[in-house]
């Protein structure tokens, strides 16, 4: 059983750290973007170094006090907000933001966990390189949070998820020991890959304090197009065509639906709509090309080849960097419009690529049996990752459907599971999906996860209640 981070514990912690490190949590530390939960914290710890993080964790381990690691607070599954139970320490990495080193010739950067993703991108840019992780909340999401949740975003198709861009991590483990793993190596086969175990563990196995990140040279030229497609099946054929012609050079391939354009028109009328008549389905294709290839020509060639196969209708090729940015701004405004409309339930799912075209009508039909909805289905089609979000019919509020939310989620997740997909493609499990993980997860996998959690965090102090419910503590005398 954990103990609360009560005033006596806060005082003990403060006494072991330089002044100013232990505070009262601010409201932002207890909130999350969708406003579904309100967290709690006995105190806020603001370490400035890995050694200070180790001091905090060791003190919490000794006193059996829980720790909720906090990055930029942008997570969508409640991984950063404590649930009921003894109040934890909120451990924010926001003061550990240093770029510890950058090696452009190696395409490597080492940065502390509290730096925002935008800061990391800027540091890479300043050295003539690129850190290609990119997502809507990059201005406030931190690289530590990105790694803890294995963030995805819009360039995964080409560059991979956060884990694929990380060469090594430094982390504080549950006993306060420091794992020194900031190697600047592309290959290192010396034992178990703890980096990959920590990445995506959402702060439940260790607290990432710094990371060695992989940079890439920026492409010589970039370009984008919006292409109207008859439907998701044609979009997937278009993707295959693009990858066959331009192997490895398709950076992004995003699917969007007319509902997204309607939500934008309704909630953000200043955003210029790209099509005179909004198409039902369209994709954003983004290319990054080497010297010798012209993006507009490559996109025109792709469009022509696709048109010959009946895969595309209308199409818009960006004629400038500004227009390419506008295409992406449109894509990135859709989640904001969604939030203003207010979803009954949002589903960050992935499917085998060839299951997607079947999934969308099947899920839509299954949901229709539960009520009358508007569905905004969009996302990173190249990764098989859909954001399949369910909204009330016009004139109704999400509150009116609160009682149906669990049924809507179960309807979507049951089908995803049956079709070999994942109920969390890129957002993680957090507290929102911990029950779903138990429901849909492979039993041997869950047992192994519990064994690892118990081995690395026997008292269950690290992000209690996230990912695994009721984990740890049972074999820990306290």
């Amino acid at each position: 059983m954990l103990h609360p981070a009560d005033p006596a514990f806060a005082a003990l912690l403060a006494a072991r750290l330089p002044p100013g490190r232990v505070r009262t949590p601010e409201p932002r530390h207890l909130e999350e973007p969708r406003g579904r939960w309100h967290g709690q914290g006995g105190c806020l710890a603001l370490p400035r170094s890995t050694a200070e993080v180790a001091t905090i964790v060791a003190a919490c381990a000794a006193a059996r006090v829980g720790i909720v690691p906090w990055g930029g607070g942008t997570g969508l599954v409640g991984g950063q907000v404590a649930g009921p139970g003894p109040a934890p320490v909120i451990l924010s990495l926001e003061r550990m933001t240093a770029v510890r080193g950058i090696w452009p010739a190696e395409n490597v950067l080492i940065v502390e966990a509290g730096a925002t993703l935008a800061d990391v991108q800027a540091a890479a840019e300043g050295a003539g390189r690129r850190f290609p992780l990119s997502l809507a909340s990059e201005g406030s999401a931190t690289i530590g949070g990105n790694l803890a949740t294995n963030a995805g975003g819009t360039a995964v198709l080409r560059y991979g998820n956060a884990r694929d861009l990380c060469l090594g991590v430094e982390a504080v483990l549950a006993d306060g020991s420091v794992l020194h793993g900031l190697k600047r190596l592309r290959k290192d086969n010396t034992g178990y890959d703890l980096r990959h175990l920590l990445i995506g563990s959402e702060g439940t196995l260790g607290i990432i304090t710094a990371a060695a990140l992989r940079l890439v040279p920026p492409p010589a030229a970039e370009g984008a197009a919006l292409m109207v497609v008859p439907g998701p099946a044609a979009a997937l054929d278009l993707l295959a065509l693009a990858q066959g012609r331009l192997a490895g050079l398709v950076t992004g391939f995003e699917l969007m639906h007319r509902t997204g354009l309607e939500f934008l028109a309704q909630t953000m009328p200043d955003i210029r709509q790209p099509f005179a008549v909004p198409p039902e389905w369209f994709v954003l294709v983004d290319l990054g090309l080497p010297e010798g290839l012209d993006p507009a020509a490559a996109l025109e060639g792709l469009y022509a080849a696709a048109a010959e196969q009946g895969l595309v209708g209308d199409g818009l090729i960006a004629s400038s960097a500004a227009q390419r940015s506008a295409f992406w701004a449109l894509r990135e405004a859709i989640p904001l419009a969604n939030r203003k409309v207010g979803a009954v339930s949002s589903h960050d799912i992935s499917l085998p690529l060839s299951a997607i075209a079947g999934f969308i009508p099947r899920a839509t039909a299954a949901l229709a049996e539960l009520g009358d909805w508007r569905i905004n289905c969009f996302g990173h089609l190249g990764d098989g990752n859909l954001h399949f979000n369910v909204f009330p019919a016009p004139g109704r509020t999400r509150a009116a459907h609160d009682h149906q939310r669990a049924a809507v989620m179960a309807c979507v997740y049951d089908l995803v599971h049956a079709m070999g997909g994942s109920i969390s493609a890129e957002h993680g499990v957090g507290r929102l999906k911990a029950g779903d993980l138990e429901r849909y997860g492979d039993p041997a996998r869950l047992a192994a996860m519990r064994a690892i959690k118990a081995a690395l965090d026997p008292c269950g102090i690290l992000n209690p209640g996230a990912v695994l419910r009721n984990a740890g503590g049972d074999i820990c005398e306290g």
Copy 2:
């Protein structure tokens, strides 16, 4: 303490399996390519299904009998040959070779662990795709072994190590339970990444029985060149130049040394030498390009730009697929020539890219204090991975230096460690480097590895003695 796989246990195992599954090990199951160790096995198990693997592991767990998983037997660190102690079951996956499915539109293939890498490549090729893992022993190495050791090879620069090409695994865990993880998904953030934990764990945490693999579309055109460079520093500048011009399209970048050409001339005189006067250092640059780019033109452009910066001397651009193959055959013959000459000690190391040019002369100088050697330094420069192999002076045999072998290894590894490198870039730890891992490994990392091993294999039956010495068993009543 483990028990031997004695005749009584072999009989018990045979009784639980269909006929023909339990045999006496053949000599090939007890050997390894460099002839340094001879293994032992109480019996050989040849399962034909995952369920049979589970039966075998469950029986071993109940009887506390060790298991040495066996793939193609090509490992170079003794991971596949049991050391002293109770004779284990040798569990060979050689009869589990089925391609369970191939989805070209998804770029996914699911195959059983005992298929050779060459078979997997051929299956992909047959579907118009490519499985881009490529290494010298691909004709006999199995995909299960490739994953268990996170194999590298010649295309890591572009496509990553074995782990980067695996979407999911099916594996039998130490209690005989089956982990069902063959998802065909690019994104799946539902909890701890056990796939990455099992990959590279060398059969000590579970036995991979099948894998979902990532395929890629073949490039529209491919080409290669040999370029003479003034030295490793210039080679690295050439690499950066190539990547800047052709971001993401450089498939391989291999460094070779004159010693390699000399060994080839001596041991394999039929191989045609590419240069009239063997250069001290040269690189093999391999490109895979999309439609619209010509490999010869791209390589000529690269050569011209490099020559302007003084990075290259002589150069040969392949004018045909056959010539490209000949360049690669030359590269791949070097390890064979090395084996014929007979190394005192071979070192599969990696370094931060910017440390490489400094490492080579420093290591050479340090070794010169121990004796008179020939060094063949070559390898996957694009990955920072050198095979830094030490040979006797002409006229002397490796046996004459046996007493110095440990000192030679320590000399190289001490410097690698001091310069932030890895003592095993791609070959793994096995039994050869288990002691080195203790010596050079981060203490917190080793402690976490031991905790994970104890949690997932409490009796230490899985590949006992590999990676971690004396792991498991202490908390297991047997």
